[in-house]
Symmetry: C2
Subunit: 453 residues, 2 copies
């Protein structure tokens, strides 16, 4: 069958259920621990912070498939199915015998795959009768997605945006405001922890860790509110499985058999979502794939971190999670892929990696932007810096095929567009972008602070 | 047949030919005139400025269909078909019995429909063996589209960007640079006219008229270069007919019969492209439609201008065109819909309007942004300010149906996204946006300078 440039599934081919890869994992991810007692966090404990049904999803290791509520399907229909694209032009430009496909999640106003989970989390909040939700955002993609989702379900949305981003990325902020969100630069005077930090460090630019703490505090102290998070959690990977399910249906329909599946990895939401259903087949012995997680060399949690219990936030208020981590005090150097600057990794991805079911590679920023520019010029899509990590390794793999003559089929996740990342592109265009690799001493130092569990 | 949220045509349903509405027009648009002799511009004269085949297309009134070269079809496949979207959520929110559809052209990195003509113009330039092309850009959408097209065909691209935009919209500029374009703030020292203007008006912010003059001068004085333009011209409307052809195929396939077809109108490229094939049916007596062109009240060429020969540029170097115009010296007030600030209108659209085959409406900026915000929140797409003019009138028409109970089918063109227009959204979000309507005296003054033909 001839493969079109872009495969769009029909509406009736869209997934009606999310896939929960934990059901097929022999070694389950370790449980979240209560930070005070170091005992597994209970449903009731999690429900104080998260919506009840989301807390249930977080703990659910048994059900392989979970129904997607009709209201969420209706929203998905506004921007899904996302296309599975055959990169004919890129293949030709590289002169590779490899076949390259990418699943493109950037064709929505949030600019990324984040909307897949944002709409689910907003739906369950609405269903529970909540008034609103709080969250933090760094680069702003998650905050934008959540603002859109809350606007759709008429929920209030309070976003704590890391101060330096709030000031340097006014456009993202305005998109959130256009969707009716309340955006506060963090640290702020609206929370106890914010006031404390401002007193200790006047003039600070803020950090993701502080913004998380402010968002959690506000959720706990505001009637009818809960806190939501855009990555790392099991529930988020569950919702993001829609990426992999659509990809698999499209591949099966056209007889495409991927050999290598590649995704960028920050907290693991996109990677986990893309690979989950394929990993399920591998776990059940039905097929085999090579999975590659790509992370920045400046924040190499999988390739240089430790698999251990750690705090999810620098404020140390969230449950402890067993994951590949660089230590919650690790401060990644300025790296423009804001979505890949997290010190830890999804528990599911961490366990799969530890079990040897997938590989990881770390790449340098300038080589990532070289790939981004090449891809933009050839395939006509200006990619997000985060997504470009996957492009880098996809091109590398395709060039290996050119050397060996292998006709491998490569599938990678193109998670989003870079329209709000032009400051980083400008640095690259002006030749002012540099690479940064943390020393062993730096990593050892931040790992020394792991909690004793 | 049930209508899906989004209709994507199959690859084999894509248009293989553009439609040239002039072939079906009884009253043809008046010919372009040589500005020196006031005689109809010849093919040779036009070929000095434009690529030969584009000049032929400009003059071709006979052929209803013109083959789309395979190379252009291959590029179209990277971002086309664009979806025809059923606005189920908007209909529900408005409580209207009307059925609303929009053809969405924003799912590509240029962010608008401009790419449809940019790739065609770049192709013919390449085919003619040219080294490069020049153009001007105001808001930057056309410049971005042309940069992408030139990068694809390995052509040089020199963009003169109005200085105030160059400085205030650095992100658009960086997208162009990422695609390898040479972007110069206009007026510049690189041309005679630029130097003259800088001497006369040191510190000027530049204007579109000046940027056109610089781009034309550079094309004429650079070996292997031609000048290209993103709107107004017959050739541009021809290429943009791909929008209307896809829309018509999708409508026919699903039995959708539009009653009202709405597009925003600046130079007329999107409007003309969307309506052309439907207008063809109307001209041939096969069907009837109500067509509505929507323009800003701040630049009302159709609703308050004069149908007369005028200069296309303020520098008065381009051929004269008969069109609805406010006079080439008309200075539209600051209006954020940069793409709708042109003093004139496509000759084809002007003639159709003059023949009573379509209507025009002028709308105020604040009401346009109200519609934009409403649409963004309900349909999940943040629209470009230009496109939002069409949304405004589509919502108005749907609300009329609510009053009368009519179940009209409304189709409008959603030409692009507003991701690079957040400064305008911020003004709206902050309540600092104002309306401006030129006085009769202002318009009479600029119309007094029309050339004597």
């Amino acid at each position: 069958m001839e493969i079109p440039y872009k495969i769009y599934l029909e509406e009736n081919e869209l997934p009606r259920q999310w896939y929960n890869v934990r059901a097929d994992m022999k070694n389950k991810p370790a449980p979240l621990l209560n930070p005070a007692t170091h005992q597994p966090a209970t449903l009731d404990e999690l429900s104080a912070v998260f919506c009840r049904e989301l807390a249930e999803q977080e703990l659910n290791e048994k059900d392989a498939y979970i129904d997607i509520p009709q209201e969420i399907i209706d929203f998905y229909k506004m921007y899904r199915p996302s296309p599975l694209v055959r990169a004919y032009c890129l293949e030709k430009a590289l002169g590779t015998p490899a076949k390259i496909y990418y699943k493109f999640e950037g064709n929505n106003t949030s600019g990324s795959h984040k909307l897949n989970s944002a709409i689910a989390q907003a739906y369950y909040a609405k269903k529970q009768g909540l008034k609103g939700v709080t969250t933090e955002t760094g680069a702003g993609q998650w905050g934008t997605a959540l603002s859109m989702a809350c606007s759709y379900f008429d929920l209030e949305c309070k976003v704590y945006m890391v101060k330096v981003s709030y000031e340097q990325k006014p456009f993202r902020r305005e998109v959130m405001r256009t969707y009716g969100a309340n955006v506060t630069p963090s640290p702020s005077n609206t929370t106890e922890i914010g006031r404390k930090i401002l007193q200790e460090f006047p003039g600070t630019n803020g950090s993701l860790g502080c913004a998380i703490s402010e968002a959690v505090e506000t959720a706990l102290h505001t009637e009818g509110y809960r806190y939501v998070l855009g990555s790392v959690l099991n529930q988020v990977l569950l919702h993001q499985s829609v990426i992999g399910l659509e990809s698999m249906t499209a591949c099966d329909k056209y007889g495409i058999k991927p050999d290598v599946i590649i995704g960028c990895a920050g907290g693991g939401s996109n990677l986990g979502g893309l690979i989950s259903p394929f990993m399920g087949r591998k776990l059940r012995g039905e097929a085999d794939y090579q999975f590659i997680a790509v992370e920045p060399k400046s924040c190499p949690s999988l390739t240089r971190g430790k698999y251990a219990y750690d705090f999810c936030d620098t404020g140390k208020v969230c449950p402890l999670q067993k994951m590949y981590t660089l230590g919650s005090g690790f401060m990644p150097s300025p790296n423009h892929a804001g979505g890949l600057r997290y010190h830890g990794m999804s528990g599911i991805v961490s366990q799969l990696y530890d079990d040897g079911l997938m590989e990881a590679r770390a790449v340098e920023q300038t080589s990532v932007f070289e790939a981004a520019q090449q891809f933009a010029r050839i395939e006509g899509i200006l990619p997000a810096p985060e997504s470009s990590h996957a492009i880098r390794v996809a091109i590398d793999e395709a060039m290996k095929c050119k050397e060996t003559g292998e006709e491998k089929t490569i599938l990678f996740g193109l998670t989003g567009t870079g329209y709000f990342d032009m400051v980083a592109y400008q640095k690259f265009n002006d030749g002012e972008m540099s690479d940064y690799i943390p020393t062993d001493e730096e990593i050892a130092k931040s790992l020394a602070d792991l909690p004793q569990v």
